[in-house]
């Protein structure tokens, strides 16, 4: 059995390797990712991956809008909180002691602190007496705001000083720093570099590099562009401690394309060891521009720019405290479950909150995923192949503070929402009654280390939750033996298909691929009991021959009419739900010619929304007179209950995609190793032109196993539909033959054989190996399970 072989190998190898520590140290069972940092491999490592819960969107006192809301905890406080310690919240008393404290009921596994990089230096200056700028009107008014007695009622908009700080640094184009920052912003940048340095030091201090792997931090920041008021914010997450000398903010690069350009040059190309991705958030207030199908300069997307975009941004934040961005009823959707935690403003600071405005379709991720299919139809590349995560966007230094029961007491915005209990239920932006405690990012990774988590984010094997912690698996592929009664469900699903985030072709001919959904309830803790599941769904989006996109939602497990509910007066649940849900599903309306995506959505039984818990705690009784400051508690437009949920990253179906994939490594040693690869596509890949494009093939686990580049024109056309290369000497990386053939059936095969190789880097255990094939903007990335027998590693899918 598979697991037995793995286990047997591990018992021998693990103790030896546990002693090793350092970059390049092999893992007992390598993941399909390279170890880029010096650390101990984790004692808890599983090739079939474990779910790690975290938050990739956290603000601390290093963000202007957090510190001006009274937050004093810096990134160290945020990491302490994530690990389960209590931290202080404003207001603080004269001796500097907090009058409120917050603590997570369940610690997180990882956190990225993402302070607004635009004003790192400005903030320090405003808070450090007499630095140039300290006495500027902007700093004075900001500090006055800080020192002002607590207002009795919150204002709709953030205080003027905060807006003043945001305008030139995120809204106005071109962005402008305050004059007191000096020539080229030098005074402010000098201070900013100290903040960036400390952000990195804090991440280092709280990152567990021992084999206990209790907690992972990421060096990160937020690029906070909001030109014209349309939110284009992105969180920039670095893979390891090798990061550029300064963050690239909206001040340096006021467009997303500019940000990606700088990240490419400063990190990916010019800084060895540096790796980065960006996670956009809140398309729901982006004016449809966060995922507009054109480049920042207004030119239409091309295959190249779409591929670059997809490479830089593999994920999107599905939900956070400023609302859920999945979909909206009436905006290309009739799905009634889309009305979940909606922000009803066109822009973040718009004074109008109204669900009946003209919301741009591309404010919602499901529509963006559909647009991605439409773009792919035209370009051959999907610019919006987005995996899904949730996060909080807390401005309290409180990562993972997603408990409905705690949100009324803590809030997320310092004194902006938490000055008094009544503040929480006002109609202000971007908080108050319309806000919510946000969600979590869940990452399926082999171990809790930066490399493992980052690689999982790259391959989109992640899911979003609305704050609770259900466990969700989602697979698709041929999946012939998949069965919910099978203890080997997960191993089998990996062997015969792809996990969430992956891509498949017509693997069962014209028949539907098979999908596996496995959902387990939030296990909870005594203080946070978790809620049973109600049902699992699969959401499908597709594009028809006319280029029109569509969607449909299928219930695949559980029961929407299970009768479970909650007594909103006491918040006691009624009825029962499921501890686990499992389904193996085929799409009854599958059309092999239509490109599509599928994602799983799992709903818990209804529970009280945070506002209901909070209003109850304040003794509000809507059947009698209610004081005006608590009027929103009794507003029928505010939902009393919610259904917490999880969304898997989608799996994409491409009609021209992989039908079959086979690989074999023959490991004889002494430079006599061999490689045989065959990829069969349902149709000739769009954009593939071997006469003008070099073909790059790579194989890697924790090391690079094989890499070859066949220059453009190496494969010669020998007859219509057939390109071939053969070389007995193997002068090109050992390649003896390569062929690309378009068959009469319409399918196409790419085959590569190489010999006399040294593939010693390939570990001789069953493990995942990442295969990459690239030509121009066309690419295939498949991390598949390769199984080990005597002198051979083989994969067949």
């Amino acid at each position: 059995m598979l697991t037995d072989r793995l286990g047997g190998t591990r018992r021998v190898v693990a103790p030896l390797l546990a002693l090793l520590c350092g970059a390049g140290a092999a893992l007992a069972q390598p993941g399909p990712w390279a170890r880029t940092e010096t650390r101990q491999p984790c004692a808890s490592f599983d090739p079939y991956r474990q779910p790690y819960f975290g938050d990739t969107h956290v603000h601390t006192a290093y963000s202007s809008d957090a510190v001006f809301a009274g937050t004093r905890e810096d990134p160290r406080g945020a990491y302490r909180f994530a690990q389960g310690e209590a931290i202080g919240l404003p207001p603080y008393d004269a001796q500097g002691n907090p009058t409120r404290t917050a603590q997570l009921r369940r610690p997180l596994d990882f956190t990225a602190v993402t302070d607004h990089a635009e004003q790192f230096g400005e903030m320090q200056i405003c808070l450090t007496p007499d630095l140039p700028g300290y006495d500027s009107p902007e700093c004075v008014s900001a500090r006055t705001q800080l020192a002002a007695p607590l207002p009795t009622l919150p204002s709709l908009l953030p205080p003027l000083p905060v807006i003043q700080f945001l305008l030139g640094y995120g809204v106005v184009q071109p962005p402008t720093r305050f004059a007191w920052c000096g020539t080229d912003g030098s005074n402010c940048l000098a201070q900013a570099s100290l903040v960036w340095e400390d952000t990195q030091a804090a991440a280092e201090q709280f990152y567990d590099r021992t084999d206990a792997c209790t907690f992972t931090t990421f060096v990160a920041y937020e690029w906070s562009g909001q030109p014209g008021g349309n939110n284009l914010h992105r969180n920039v997450i670095f893979r390891n401690a090798t990061v550029p000398a300064m963050p690239t903010s909206y001040m340096e690069q006021p467009t997303p394309d500019g940000l990606w350009n700088t990240l490419t040059t400063q990190c990916l190309e010019d800084l060895p060891g540096c790796d980065v991705l960006a996670i956009p958030h809140n398309p729901n207030v982006s004016g449809g521009l966060m995922f507009a199908p054109f480049n920042s300069d207004g030119s239409p997307l091309t295959a190249t720019s779409a591929a670059r975009r997809a490479a830089m941004e593999p994920l999107v934040e599905m939900n956070q405290h400023k609302g859920d961005s999945e979909c909206r009823p009436g905006v290309q959707s009739t799905d009634e479950l889309c009305g979940f935690e909606k922000n009803n403003r066109l822009q973040l600071f718009s004074p109008i909150s109204d669900p009946n405005q003209a919301f741009p379709p591309l404010n919602y991720i499901r529509n963006v995923l559909r647009q991605g299919l439409v773009s792919e139809q035209a370009l051959g590349v999907n610019p919006f192949q987005l995996g899904l995560i949730g996060s909080t966007d807390t401005h309290n230094s409180t990562p993972g503070a997603t408990e409905e029961a705690d949100f009324g007491a803590f809030g997320h915005l310092g004194l902006r929402d938490g000055a008094t209990p009544a503040f929480m239920v006002q109609r202000v932006t971007p908080a108050g009654i319309e806000g919510n405690p946000g969600g979590l990012a869940v990452v399926w990774a082999e171990e809790n280390s930066r490399d493992a988590l980052f690689a999982a984010m790259r391959r989109r094997e992640v899911y979003a939750t609305s704050g609770s912690r259900p466990i969700l698996r989602f697979f698709a592929g041929r999946e012939s033996g998949l069965d919910c009664g099978d203890a080997e469900f997960v191993a089998r699903a990996y062997r015969d298909g792809v996990p969430m985030g992956g891509t498949i072709g017509p693997v069962r001919g014209a028949r539907s691929p098979r999908f596996g959904v496995l959902a387990f309830r939030d296990a909870g803790t005594p203080t946070s009991p978790g809620t049973p599941l109600q049902r699992a769904q699969i959401v499908k989006g597709w594009v028809d021959a006319q280029g029109q996109s569509h969607e449909q939602v299928f219930d695949v497990a559980g029961d929407p009419n299970n009768g479970a509910g909650v007594d909103t007066a006491t918040c006691t649940p009624t009825g029962s739900g499921e501890d686990s849900l499992c389904a193996v599903w085929e799409d009854p309306e599958f059309d092999p010619s239509q490109r599509a995506f599928y994602y799983a959505r799992v709903l818990e039984n209804p529970t009280c929304r945070w506002s209901t818990i909070h209003c109850n705690a304040q003794g509000v009784d809507c059947s009698g007179p209610v004081s005006p400051e608590y009027a929103e508690c009794c507003n029928p437009a505010v939902p009393k209950t919610i259904q917490e949920r999880a969304w898997s990253s989608p799996i994409w179906y491409r009609p021209e995609g992989l039908v079959r994939m086979r690989g074999k490594l023959t490991l004889r040693g002494a430079a006599r190793d061999g490689l045989d690869l065959e990829l069969r596509f349902a149709a000739p890949p769009a954009g593939l032109d071997l006469a003008t494009q070099a073909l790059v093939v790579t194989l890697g686990d924790d090391d690079e196993i094989f890499r070859v580049t066949l220059p453009a024109g190496t494969l010669q056309q020998t007859r219509p539909g057939r390109w071939a290369f053969s070389d007995r000497t193997g002068s090109l990386g050992g390649v003896r033959s390569a062929a690309y053939v378009e068959h009469g059936s319409g399918q196409a095969t790419l085959r590569l054989r190489a010999a006399r190789l040294d593939l010693g880097a390939a570990d001789r255990v069953d493990h995942f190996i990442a295969l990459g094939v690239r030509a121009g903007s066309w690419q295939v990335d498949e991390a598949a399970l390769w199984e080990s027998t005597s002198a051979r590693l083989a994969m067949r899918r």
């Binding site: 020192a147 469900f489 296990a523």
Partner: protein, 319 residues
């Protein structure tokens, strides 16, 4: 000597400070300086500022803290000037030029001229902004002096002194068979039967039975905290105390029932230095920065007589 230092941390501290002082300090050569005066007016100004910023009247303890901070800043400013930190500082130079441009009202003047005129007027000595730039610079310089080189021996010593903080949790490897909770309640019997079968079998690696489960069937390196998060406290407690090699169960979790065989139980050890070096380094740096700054300030106070017109401060200084 090392043993002595380990034994007497204060000696270590003072010696470190002394070395630091010799390296970066500039001993005063002038006759005893005139006392630094924090007059009653200044104390009032400090109190007023505090009241303005916090909306609260300062307590005597607050007043002492405010005065201490003001004294520290003055001492650091003087030290910065004594070390010539104001020369060649881009921020200072830029600021002075900007100020001078306003004062001189001469749009044609070049930067060098403006800078020289500002120095001539002594702007670099009495400008608040220059003062704050220099105080911050002095703080950083003092706190981080010699930081670019890390004394590995000292770092390891720090690690040994705080070894308890780097102790790892106990961990288990386990194998489990998961059984869904059936709605008809008939699962207790089948779980028992399966358990008997597992206990009788000698092949502990082949475990075909059980329902689909999203987590790995064989879990390695699990701490109690990890198990609690994934399976609940009751499950974790029973597994952590399970005898290696024996099938136990059925153990309830929020998901259903589990038959578990603990394969190995390892007691937590102190993490090796190499694995926690980054954490140790940050902690040690933080501590060293505080010590260096405190050492410098203590030395500056020793050299500089003070006269403070505050009863609260006087009282603190005499007790």
């Amino acid at each position: 000597m090392r043993a002595l230092v380990r034994r007497w941390p204060l000696l270590h501290f003072l010696a470190g400070g002394g070395v630091l002082f010799l390296l970066v300090g500039r001993p005063a050569t002038a006759p005893p300086p005139a006392p630094l005066v924090i007059g009653a007016a200044e104390v009032t100004r400090l109190r007023d500022g505090y009241r303005r910023e916090t909306g609260l009247p300062p307590t005597p303890a607050d007043e002492v803290a405010l005065i201490d901070r003001a004294v520290d800043e003055e001492l650091l400013f003087r030290e910065a000037l004594a070390r010539g930190l104001d020369r060649h500082d881009r921020s200072v130079r830029h600021w002075l030029i900007e100020q001078m441009r306003v004062l001189a009202d001469d749009p044609a003047a070049d930067e060098q001229t403006l800078y020289q005129r500002a120095l001539g007027l002594g702007l670099d000595r009495n400008d608040l902004v220059v003062r704050r730039i220099l105080v911050q610079k002095m703080r950083l310089l003092a706190a981080r002096a010699g930081e670019s080189t890390v004394d590995e021996d000292e770092l390891r010593r720090f690690y040994r002194d705080h070894a308890g903080d780097y102790r790892q949790p106990d961990r288990v490897d386990l194998q489990q068979v998961f059984l869904r909770r059936a709605h008809d309640g008939g699962d207790a019997d089948s779980a028992q039967r399966l358990l008997v079968g597992l206990r009788a079998g000698d092949d502990h690696t082949a475990v075909p039975a059980g329902d689909a489960f999203p987590l790995p069937r064989r879990l390695t390196g699990q701490s109690r905290a990890q198990l609690e998060k994934a399976f609940g406290a009751g499950f974790a407690a029973q597994v952590m105390s399970g005898t290696p090699g024996t099938w136990i169960g059925p153990l309830d979790s929020p998901y259903g029932a589990h038959l578990v065989r603990v394969e190995a139980h390892r007691n937590g050890a102190v993490a090796p230095f190499e694995a926690v070096r980054g954490q140790v380094l940050e902690r040690w740096r933080e501590q060293r920065r505080r010590e260096r700054l405190a050492a410098l300030l203590a030395e500056l106070r020793r050299r500089q007589p003070l006269r403070v017109e505050s009863a609260a401060w006087q009282q603190r200084s005499t007790t």
